[in-house]
């Protein structure tokens, strides 16, 4: 007899390595995903009754491999022998008794391969995120749907499309090495950061799963940093997530209203996360003299984390890092932040000059970001009427009710 919570816990621990192992032996991520689910269904049925097997990894691998053999044999029966299977059926059947030996193989390389396939650049980012959470996080379709606030059918669709694309694109199955690895790493980091930000923008509301995406992303980040300790950007992303997550508890007041970074009670920041984030950033910095985009963002987050108060913040360093970031990974959002930092470091007129240059930027047309920042800089320059108008424009553009209230209140105080 085993409690359902225990069964789920064992599953959560075993799922990623099981998926990684089967992806290698089957050379088909779609088939691996299906039989891993089959194995889970069987475990849910049998473990509560029979107890958890002595070696759950071997049990699950054997069940999943058997299911794969069943499915492959059926495919051969239906499609005839003409259909090209990714894996040699006879070889797979022969390999069956060697489950114990298979468990000893290099699991790190299997995991890396699964990460690079799940986050393959041929897939749109949202499909990569769904597949990665499913294969590497062990989340169910229902859980992913709840976390991303989309319909379950939509998530299922994303995973089906991703698997089909990977099959049709006939992608290289081996773990990328050297220069290619560095290039493909970008697509992996992008997905992990996307998952993290989904959790970050979620309020601390009743839906814990959504906010928990942040932890899910950090777990993936730690896995990646363990597997690729030589890649500064992988370590830097983890540092960036830890430093940002340290502010989770301070971002909203008791009523759930957002509190801006500069107004937060720094006593509510999570100092154990900050210590870990700073420690990791040091390691990333020791690996390279030229910080990449994630490292620069982590360096900026570290400046805030190290400052005991807003007045104590090293704005000149932050402005310099944003300038470097604008070169390494140019984007209108980076420019807006550079305007804020320059305003704090060198005065509002300098900040406004950067912000004004962005007024015709089409990618900022539909967001409240630029008018919010311009409003703030104009107010500091004493141009109250223009500032009020900018805050009202920002209020019209934001999709967040609470933020709108905050912006309108600010506009009203300016008259």
């Amino acid at each position: 007899m085993a409690a359902i919570g225990t069964v789920e816990a064992v599953w959560r621990i075993e799922q990623p390595t099981l998926a990684a192992r089967l992806t290698r032996t089957l050379r088909d991520v779609g088939l691996a995903e299906e039989v891993v689910q089959d194995a889970f269904v069987e475990a849910l049925e049998r473990w509560p009754r029979d107890g958890i097997p002595h070696n759950p990894a071997a049990w699950l691998t054997s069940v999943a491999t058997n299911r794969a053999l069943d499915r492959l044999r059926r495919t051969v029966l239906i499609d005839g022998k003409h259909r090209q299977l990714a894996v040699d059926l006879a070889a797979l059947e022969r390999a069956m008794p060697d489950i114990e030996a298979a468990l000893d193989e290099d699991i790190d390389d299997d995991l890396l391969r699964l990460i690079f396939i799940s986050c393959h650049p041929v897939l749109p980012a949202e499909q990569r995120a769904a597949l990665a959470l499913r294969m590497l996080g062990g989340l169910s379709t229902t859980e992913i749907a709840r976390a991303f606030l989309v319909a379950e059918a939509a998530v299922a669709q994303r995973i089906v499309r991703a698997k089909r694309t990977l099959r049709d694109a006939d992608i290289a199955f081996e773990t990328p090495r050297g220069q290619e690895r560095r290039e493909r790493l970008g697509a992996v980091l992008e997905v992990i950061y996307l998952i993290f930000n989904e959790g970050y923008v979620a309020s601390s509301g009743p839906d814990w799963l959504r906010a928990d995406l942040g932890n899910e992303a950090m777990r993936l980040g730690r896995l990646l940093a363990t597997l690729m300790p030589e890649q500064p950007e992988a370590i830097a992303l983890l540092s960036l997530m830890e430093l940002s997550a340290s502010r989770f508890g301070a971002r909203t007041d008791g009523a759930g209203n957002p509190i801006l970074l500069l107004d937060q009670d720094r006593g509510r920041w999570d100092w154990s996360l900050i210590r870990r984030g700073l420690d990791r950033l040091n390691r990333a910095m020791a690996l390279t003299p030229t910080p990449g985009p994630y490292q620069l963002q982590a360096m900026i987050a570290a400046c805030h984390a190290r400052a005991v108060s807003v007045a104590d913040t090293d704005w000149i360093a932050i402005a310099a890092y944003y300038q470097a970031l604008a070169l390494a990974a140019p984007s209108p959002i980076v420019e807006v932040n550079r305007a804020v930092a320059a305003g704090m470091a060198f005065g509002p007129a300098q900040g406004l000059a950067i912000a004004d240059a962005l007024r015709d930027e089409p990618r900022l047309k539909d967001t409240h970001l630029l008018p919010t920042v311009r409003g703030d800089l104009l107010a500091k320059l004493g141009r109250m009427q223009e500032a009020g108008a900018e805050f009202r424009r920002a209020a019209e553009l934001t999709g967040n009710e609470r933020e709108r209230a905050l912006l309108l209140a600010r506009a009203d105080t300016l008259g």
């Binding site: 225990t6 816990a9 064992v10 928990d212 777990r219 730690r222 720094r266 100092w271 005991v308």
Partner: protein, 132 residues
């Protein structure tokens, strides 16, 4: 959620000051630690020297009194800890079950108190103590 797995090695209360684990025990433990790392759940871990090299500070009558180790009368002493980040209490317990511990060892699994676990007035009391 964060959990601490507290390792209470059997007989550690009487261990000599220079007592060291065997190479095999360390190797098995390193493998276990690698598994924790690979699952992305490990946040920190440390091992502690035997209590015979430590001291206990007690506060009977409101006054600190220092007693040097060993403390043979204390039946359960700490030998080290792991700090892990997992999704549930069950998952923390499952990780503890997988530890290559020896026959007399005990692992206590305890959830870490987060600031948000406290009522508002206790949270207020922490205000202004930044950087702890």
């Amino acid at each position: 959620m964060r959990f601490m797995m507290l390792m209470i090695p059997g007989g550690y209360e009487n261990a000599a000051p220079d007592a060291m684990p065997s190479a095999e025990a360390v190797e098995a433990m390193m493998k276990y630690n690698e598994e924790l790392k690979r699952a992305g759940v490990l946040l920190a871990l440390d091992g502690l020297h035997p209590p015979s090299t430590g001291a206990r500070v007690s506060f009977k009558g409101g006054k600190p009194t220092v007693i040097d180790g060993p403390f043979p009368e204390v039946k359960e002493v700490l030998g080290g800890y792991w700090m892990i980040d997992v999704r549930s209490r069950d998952e923390a317990i499952e990780w503890a079950r997988r530890c290559p511990a020896s026959g007399n060892d005990v692992i206590e699994v305890r959830r870490v108190q987060e600031l948000s676990d406290f009522p508002e007035d206790v949270q207020k009391a922490t205000e202004g103590f930044s950087g702890l």
